[in-house]
Symmetry: C2
């Protein structure tokens, strides 16, 4: 019998533990296995000679807001739930969360760090090793509660399609795709027909893709507040920057040609969606001729068919849920980033959804994720 999920968070993050790649690369790359090191800037990964530091903002669960800092820390100064899946389960229990969908960190939120490595054979093996570790170590702590998102070698879309099929066979529940794929060298934008290989593989396997905010190398959204703007502007606007990628999906013909594809816009918030859909349909109505829009149907229809949006805290969005689509909303706890609702997720749910009908709250807190991630 299927597990009775009550709360599924569809936006959380893994801080990969030391040793995760040990023994996972083919012999010819064994001496280039990434290693965790420590220096004055905290823990980092030695990735083929390049030091990849971890931001202190990405493992802040449990800290007071006065302590948040981008300055890195070593593993011993992080909460164990950040990097240890068994400890993660305990933190989820504290927060009343039945299941989490987890994004990678070292490979980049959507494999961007690996995509940019010059040695593509090496990058491909790292990508596969990450996905193997995800299933065999991270999710293995409790495969019904810790759901992983696989990453893809996007510089080679046929190889990416093959990896989709491979990870589906291993039991992965979804994929992480970047918010601006065309910002990486050699990766085309989503509307490019070269992506059809991946859309075919997703259709065949039924795997959904999450698209997390700010996972373009140079994100093409509202993420460039510009020289001289306050630092808080980035934090304020990063979620809504996913408007760009969602609009791109709605105004290209991908969702018409592949009607069973499912995309989750992760950490984007939801309160802007009613405006966004109204403006999308207005744009379609008034501008479809000169812009050569080929979808033939209002973008809001394609949204309700194929797009899901998740949020951490969004009172306006919950009030407007019927203008979004109650079947298209999910929650995310963003553990262990600074914006996380942990350990107060139950309070947030009660405050923002305490007075909405039970069936609607269930869909948003769990039911929609059960359907999209095929948890039945």
């Amino acid at each position: 019998m299927a597990r009775a999920y009550q709360v599924i968070s569809t936006d959380d993050h893994i801080t990969e533990p030391p040793g995760m790649f040990d023994g996972r690369l083919p012999k010819r790359f064994a001496d280039r296995t990434p290693k965790a090191i420590e220096d004055e800037d905290g823990s980092a990964w030695d990735l083929d000679g390049q030091l990849v530091h971890m931001s202190g903002l990405a493992n802040a669960a449990g800290e007071k807001i006065e302590e948040f800092s981008p300055k890195g820390k070593t593993y011993e100064h992080m909460r164990p739930g950040v990097y240890d899946p068994r400890e993660r389960l305990k933190d989820m229990d504290l927060d009343g969360v039945d299941a989490q969908v987890c994004f990678p960190t070292l490979p980049g939120g959507a494999n961007g760090t690996f995509i940019e490595l010059p040695d593509k054979e090496y990058a491909l093996e790292l990508t596969r090793a990450y996905n193997d570790w995800l299933v065999e170590e991270w999710c293995a702590a409790d495969p019904e509660r810790i759901l992983g998102l696989a990453v893809l070698p996007l510089w080679d879309l046929p190889a990416s399609a093959a990896e989709v099929r491979r990870v589906a066979g291993k039991g992965v529940k979804g994929l992480s795709l970047p918010s601006a794929p065309q910002s990486y060298p050699g990766v085309p934008a989503f509307p490019d027909p070269a992506w059809d290989a991946v859309w075919d593989a997703m259709t065949e396997t039924g795997l959904p893709a999450e698209v997390h905010i700010a996972t373009g190398k140079k994100d093409l959204g509202v993420l460039q507040p510009g020289v001289g703007s306050p630092a808080a502007v980035f934090v304020h606007l990063a979620p809504a920057s996913n408007m760009t990628v969602v609009s791109t999906l709605l105004f290209s013909d991908i969702l018409l040609r592949y009607p069973t594809l499912k995309f989750v816009s992760a950490e984007s918030g939801i309160g802007w969606v009613p405006y966004f859909l109204e403006r999308a349909d207005y744009t379609f109505r008034k501008h479809r001729f000169w812009t050569g829009t080929s979808t033939g149907v209002p973008p809001s229809e394609l949204f309700r068919q194929s797009i899901y949006v998740n949020y951490i805290s969004d009172k306006a969005g919950i009030e407007l849920r019927h203008m979004i689509g109650v079947d298209n909303i999910m929650i995310g706890t963003d553990y262990p980033h600074t914006d996380t609702s942990w350990p107060d997720t139950q309070r947030v749910i009660k405050e923002q959804m305490g007075d909405i009908p039970d069936d609607e709250r269930y869909k948003i807190c769990a039911g929609n994720a059960v359907r999209v991630f095929n948890l039945v």
Copy 2:
């Protein structure tokens, strides 16, 4: 007795008529007076040897949606209300609009084209000549009904402050400032203290500033859909791109130090504002320490004090008006651009505001503009 305005549009555009600069430049620049010319791409201005063409999308009033095209046209193929203020008044009558606030086109929406001219003395004289023409010719057709926005020589902020005082003395009702000033060479971002000269002049004269979407040279908002994205993505997201500049104002200390300044976010739509303010306050609450936010008060308070937002058609926004602030919303008809509500503005008002209380509808349609533009 003051005019009893019922409908004031705070977002409209001038297509400057041929000859507008004739006799307006000092003698030393007389032979470099910009001239309207025609070629196979329609009408254009010869600006010191550089041809500045007009997009057909910017003078589309009266066209069917199937006819919209960026391809330029000559004046004789434009509706006369586009470039002739007396004809404009007739078109306003057809649309039930009492007054319009007009942006420039040839100088750029916020003077960007003139700012980029290498000869700064020449650019300064063009800027002043434009402002003189605006008052003496364009608005003169009916100064109570056609309200102009002056432009500033922003490469020199003390000179800009002097121009604010000069145009205020001539009866100009407001200023047009760019959505991304720092995208122009030699112009700092709004939080830079060099802008204090302009804020001082605005405070002293009581002139508000409108900030129109997409008036950065390379806008730093959602305006970069990226290679390979459908053309409609730009049209869809251009309005919400003003999130970036409004966020910048809310998270810098300008509005604390100059509490009587007024900024109108033009053509940005309003339906995203409830989400935007909730997220701004969440950002302030959780991230003010590490981001060094110095405002001391939640951004939503500064918004309600100093920011106004206008829209063409925005059902979601009107439903959510109390989450925005009924005192902070205005309408715009965007005449004569493709998105214009002309000649159906009365229908749009009735459809979207037919069932809201009269006093709220009055504020949105006219009262807030009367107050902000000092029309009493």
